[in-house]
Symmetry: C2
Subunit: 136 residues, 2 copies
């Protein structure tokens, strides 16, 4: 954001000085003022496009924000969600248990509840649905 403001300011200054330079031409009647305006407008347009692109690539637009609202809507608890994330990492129930410091039984319980809440038959299907819901 700071960057944008800076570039924006520089842009205006550049334009005003550009105008000062072209003023001589305007006075002499060779260069029409419309052209000067159109030129500056075109330049600014492309600068706008450029800046927007820059910002877009810097912070990937499709950094899918996690839809916390949907998590509550589906009544997915904290622990269940933690398990879901580990599933998306390709871990087995046992591995998830080790990572979250609980038994495999507990993980199975969470997974089972998760599948019911996501209306999935398998963990792979749960992953697909979760992605569609922007949950992961």
């Amino acid at each position: 954001m700071k960057k944008t403001v800076f570039i924006f300011s520089a842009l205006i200054i550049a334009l005003l000085s550009l105008f000062q330079l072209s003023q001589y031409a305007v006075i002499s009647g060779d260069l029409k003022i419309e052209i000067a305006i159109a030129f500056s407008a075109i330049v600014c347009f492309f600068v706008g496009v450029y800046i927007s692109k820059k910002n877009a690539t810097h912070q990937p637009i499709l950094t899918k924000k996690i839809d916390t609202h949907k998590l509550k809507e589906l009544e997915i608890t904290t622990r269940e969600y933690a398990v879901l994330k580990q599933i998306s990492e390709g871990l087995s129930n046992k591995e998830i248990g080790e990572k979250l410091f609980v038994s495999e039984s507990t993980v199975k319980t969470h997974v089972s509840n998760l599948l019911a809440k996501l209306q999935a038959k398998r963990r792979t299907e749960a992953l697909k649905i979760a992605k569609q819901l922007q949950i992961i």
Copy 2:
């Protein structure tokens, strides 16, 4: 693209007519020509940003292209890849078999080979790796 050209043309026309309107003010000496230019520049800048954003959201920049090169590198066959895509859809081996018109045994064979080639222990892990490799 056509849209962009259209908007761009409309923009220039609008600016020129804007200038025509403001010309009276310029002649009367109340409104300085610098302000007119700066104003048009600012408008064009934001229009550029807006259009760029529109384009970005319309056709997602991060439409991950499938890395066919990597598929060959990993020696993943046509059929195996078809199975992989079905796995990402959350289907079971049996369901995949029905969809591809082969037996569950065949699907199992493909999955097994797939896991070996992707160096995964489970299908969920295979999904994760495949995504990292931009294969799906």
